[in-house]
Structures are given as structure tokens and as C-alpha cells.
Symmetry: C2
Subunit: 251 residues, 2 copies
DNA sequence: CCGACTTTGTGCATGCGTTCACAAGCGGTA
DNA sequence: TACCGCTTGTGAACGCATGCACAAAGTCGG
């Protein structure tokens, strides 16, 4: 029904887009990198580093220095030419842009293998994402605390999500249950969903979904292995127009 | 030192790139989607569906139909105009391109919360990614089977990875250990790494790294919440040039 | 106070990825 | 066989992202 990712209004309005909209138009790819810069900068701050140049930071973050500066320029001009950036200042501005000035309460649904790992993980609360609710259908799990939070029955999801102001829902159920869980989260007012189930979720336009699909990640790695193996083969054996598996490369 | 992602040879060779190289130049984004199509198609095949049109498949995969057809065109012309695609045929060709005609043995390093979940997960072997080795430093874990595989000490990593022909290494250790584990995997000949530790890994050019960073995913979601909240605020309150948190939108 | 040096911020070109739109091709039908 | 309707495959245009290269803007030493 609705696209997973908002498709943005095509030029139906001949009028200019408002400046404030353009100011907010930070490329999605840049947002992801800003989160990485933030982590690196936090680490530096913890080690007592107070200033950093774009060159140093870009090395630590594994990106091109020019790209880093462009990314930072989307959020403003907080560097000092000839010197670099103040670590604390940069941290606070990135946090502001990413909306980390307030906490985002997280609910995990499906307390199996993965749900347990997520609930027990200590890394989220410190980064502004306290896990405040756990849900499952398994009667044996209800009431048991995992990572300090008792598991509730999925039927209580609406009431509890509203009460605890959950803003991010994490789906860690088996694939067949994922869409139904997603629908319940959405009716409970949750507008952000992180989905671990290998399923394409259908959601309304106002809900943001991100997926983590480990099988897909592995298949991408597999593709690169195959490509490399194929290249090696065709180099050593000479280009006969056939790759491994009889794949026709030059028909 | 080396970039996380190969930067591709710049035009040092004035000669044309060989056709076979171009044939292999499937955009990274398309590869990721091909993996999704494969999953959807496999599900359809299981339900006895034998033919599918680009429109149907694109709906099920949550993408634009034109994009889907272009993605499929990278791997060849296996559709029938006026009819659609044969599900089995498409499955086998995508599998071939993704290098899934042979199994890729997986090693998991760091059998803590996350490592246990991964080792116990039944979804990988069926997709061609059997987990064949587990490693940790914790003496209490060594020898204990998890998901049917006994945990080995990290010091045995080289010998065991070579013996079991591990092609994908999964890092699920605490962040400080990640780089050292990565180096060990690389010296054991592993060329593909999936990294869960929130750390930027340094690897040689011939090694492919993909990272899964849940905190980053949540921060991206947080960004979108903040953007939406800000838009709503500036609409209801009128645009005064200030967003939430006193963020200056139009300086 | 000045000049040399350092590093930011960004205009611009280039390349990649997405989307549109339509000709080409195939099966079915008369 | 000839026509018709449907769906694929792709050329072309567009928009987004990347990386270069440099002017602007600051620091520091003398
Ligand atoms: N474990 C992994 O490493 C891993 C890796 C990749 C993908 N995944 C995916 O993550 C998801 C969870 O994996 P897992 O290994 O934790 O599975 P699991 O079977 O261990 O746990 C699933 C949990 O969800 C609960 N559940 C089932 N239906 C539910 C519903 N309608 N509402 C609420 N809870 C419900 C079950 O009771 C169970 O506790 C699956 O979709 C799986 O494909 C897991
Ligand atoms: N658990 C989660 O849900 C989650 C979420 C996001 C990120 N992560 C990341 O994933 C990684 C693992 O998380 P976790 O919760 O499983 O941690 P954990 O502490 O439960 O497990 C880490 C395991 O790694 C082992 N280990 C430590 N040093 C090692 C070494 N040098 N070689 C081999 N093994 C070693 C430890 O003995 C332990 O068993 C961390 O980097 C964490 O930041 C975890």
C-alpha cells in the first residue's frame, strides 16, 4: 500500500520549496554518517581529546575528509579555519540534529534468541535509547524480567506503549508474525520501527521503517566473493567469455 | 589504512574497460535488492506460484516496478514479454549471480548475547550459510556446544578457519576486541567480514567488510522523529525561524 | 602588525542510481 | 496468418551523492 520510504512530493507545487525545508534536507546517507561521527567523537571526548581536524576525524570514521566536511556543513559551520573542530561542540550539535536531546523509549517485541540479546544489551540506554517494554506471546515468558524489564503479553502493547511513550518499536518475532506485530505497534502510535524479521512490512506514510536483514548482508558478501573468484578465474585461465558456473559474460 | 570499500581503479588505463568487467558491474544497491527479490521469490515458489509479473513482484518486494526490471536486467533477460517471469528460473539465476551455488561457511567470533543468538539461529544454513565454527576467549565457554557447534578458543582461529574453509567471519565481540579479531580473521584468509561491534575496522583492500550498527539505525529513526516533530511544531506555531530546541532553521 | 601557514567550507564537475516512457517482442485469438 | 493486448527491457533524463580543488578565514610566530 504505502511505500516503505516516502517518495517526496513531485513538483506539483510550482512555488519554491520553503528555505526551512531545504535547511532540513540532510541527505539520508549523510545522516547515517553523522551518527558514526558522533560515536567516534564521543570516544575521543572520553579520552580527553578536545579538538580534532577534519583529516583526523575522517580517518577515524573511515571516510573521505571532503565528504566529512560536507556532511558537517549540513548542520552548520562550527569549525575554526586553521584549527579544526571542538569535540564537545560538534558532539552537542550532532546530538541536536539527530534528535538525541531527548530520550527515545524502545519496545522490543519477540523475546526469543534475538530479543533476549537486545534486551540484555547495555549499549542502548547510554546512547539515549532506554528499553522500557518487552512483549511476547509465549505464556512461559510473561512476567519474567529480561535485562531488568518484565515481559508483557502482546495484547497489552497499546496501553503500555502509550503509557511509557514508546517511540521506537523493534520487531524480533518470526517472519509470519511480523506484519501483525507491526500493525499493532502502529495502532499504538509508534512511528519508528526497526525490523529484524526477513519480511517487507507495509506501513502508512507517517511511519518510518528500517530493516536489518542479516541474510541479505551475507548474500551481498557472497556476491563479492563470487565476483572476485570469477575475476581470478578468468585472469588465470584467459577470457573465454565464460565465468564460473558457465556464466556467460560476453554472450 | 585501506578504505573500507574498494575505490575502483580511476582511469589509469586509457583503453576501454573490458566488456566482461562492465557485465559484472552490478550496482551495489541492486545487489542488495536482488537478495530481497530472491527471498520473496523463494516464498512464492514454496506456495506453488510458478509465474510472476514485474508488477506483482515489485509490490511484494516494496519497490518500484521499473527499478525491479532494471535490477533484473543486470543479470540477463529471463522474462517473457506479455507474460512475466518464471519463478524457478529467476530464483536460479539470482542465486547464481549472488554466488549461492556453493555454500559459504560462517564463523562467529564472540559468543556472548549476540553470538549466542546468531549461533542458535536456524535461518542461515537453509540459505546457504552454514555456521561451522564459533570462537571466544572466555574459558567457561570453550568446548560448550552452542547451536550444535562447540566453541573454540580464539587462538585456534587460523587453523580452524583454514580447515573448515570459512569464507565469512562474523564479529560479535566487545568493541575493544573487534580490530584484533578482525586482523586474526584476515590472517586466517577470511575475505568477508560482518561486523556488529560499533567500531570502524581497518582492513586490506582485498577484504570486504559490512557493518550492522543498531545504535546508528536507531539514531537515524530518531532523526526522522525529530524532523517530523519540528515540522509539526513550526506548522502549528507558525514559522518563527526557530525549530524545537531553539534550532535555527532560517538564520 | 604582518605575513606565512593551516584548515575549513563550498562551487563545480563527475558518476551513480532512480524513474519515466515507449519500442520491441510474445502469446493468444480470430 | 494477421492482429491485438500485455509485459518486458532499456534509452534517456533527472536528481542525488561523491570528491576535487581552491578561496576564505582563521592562528601563530616574529
Ligand atoms: N537470531 C538471529 O540471530 C537472527 C538472525 C537473523 C534474523 N533473525 C530474525 O529475527 C527474528 C527473531 O529471531 P529469533 O532467533 O529471536 O527467533 P525465536 O524463535 O528465538 O524468537 C521469536 C520470539 O517471538 C515470539 N513471538 C512469536 N509470535 C509472536 C507474536 N505474534 N507477538 C509477539 N511475540 C511473538 C516467540 O514467542 C519467540 O519468543 C526472526 O524473524 C528471525 O528471522 C534472527
Ligand atoms: N547484544 C546486542 O543486542 C547488541 C546490539 C548492538 C550491538 N552489539 C554489539 O555486539 C557486540 C557483542 O555484543 P554482546 O551483547 O553479545 O556482548 P557480550 O559481552 O555479551 O559478548 C561478548 C563476547 O565476546 C567475547 N570476547 C571478548 N573478547 C574477545 C576476543 N578478543 N576474542 C574472542 N571473543 C572475545 C566475550 O568473552 C563474550 O563472550 C558488541 O560489540 C556490542 O556492542 C550488541
Amino acid at each position: 500500500m504505502a511505500a516503505q520510504r516516502g517518495e517526496g512530493e513531485t513538483t506539483t507545487t510550482p512555488a519554491e520549496p520553503a528555505d526551512r525545508e531545504r535547511a532540513r534536507a540532510i541527505p539520508e546517507a549523510a545522516v547515517a554518517r553523522l551518527a558514526v561521527y558522533l560515536r567516534v567523537l564521543s570516544g575521543m571526548a572520553d579520552q580527553g581529546v578536545t579538538a580534532v581536524s577534519s583529516e583526523e576525524l575522517s580517518q577515524a570514521a573511515g571516510v573521505n575528509a571532503a565528504k566529512l566536511r560536507k556532511d558537517l556543513s549540513y548542520i552548520g559551520s562550527y569549525g575554526t579555519r586553521g584549527v579544526g573542530y571542538d569535540v564537545e561542540v560538534l558532539v552537542s550539535h550532532i546530538e541536536r540534529i539527530l534528535g538525541l536531546t531527548r530520550n527515545h523509549s524502545v519496545a522490543v517485541v519477540g523475546i526469543g534468541n534475538l530479543g533476549h540479546a537486545l534486551a540484555n544489551y547495555g549499549g542502548f540506554p547510554g546512547r539515549g535509547f532506554p528499553v522500557t517494554a518487552l512483549f511476547d506471546v509465549d505464556a512461559d515468558l510473561i512476567g519474567i524480567p529480561v535485562g531488568g524489564i518484565p515481559v508483557n503479553h502482546i495484547d497489552e502493547i497499546t496501553a503500555i506503549c502509550l503509557e511509557r511513550e514508546v517511540s521506537i518499536g523493534v520487531i524480533a518475532t518470526p517472519p509470519p508474525a511480523a506484519q501483525s506485530v507491526c500493525d499493532r505497534l502502529v495502532s499504538a502510535g509508534v512511528q519508528c520501527i526497526l525490523n529484524f524479521a526477513p519480511v517487507v512490512l507495509q506501513v502508512p506514510d507517517n511511519v518510518e521503517v528500517r530493516k536489518v536483514d542479516l541474510a541479505v548482508e551475507m548474500q551481498i558478501l557472497s556476491f563479492h566473493v563470487a565476483r572476485r573468484a570469477d575475476e581470478a578465474a578468468s585472469v588465470s585461465v584467459g577470457n573465454n567469455g565464460l565465468g564460473v558456473d558457465g556464466m556467460v559474460i560476453r554472450p
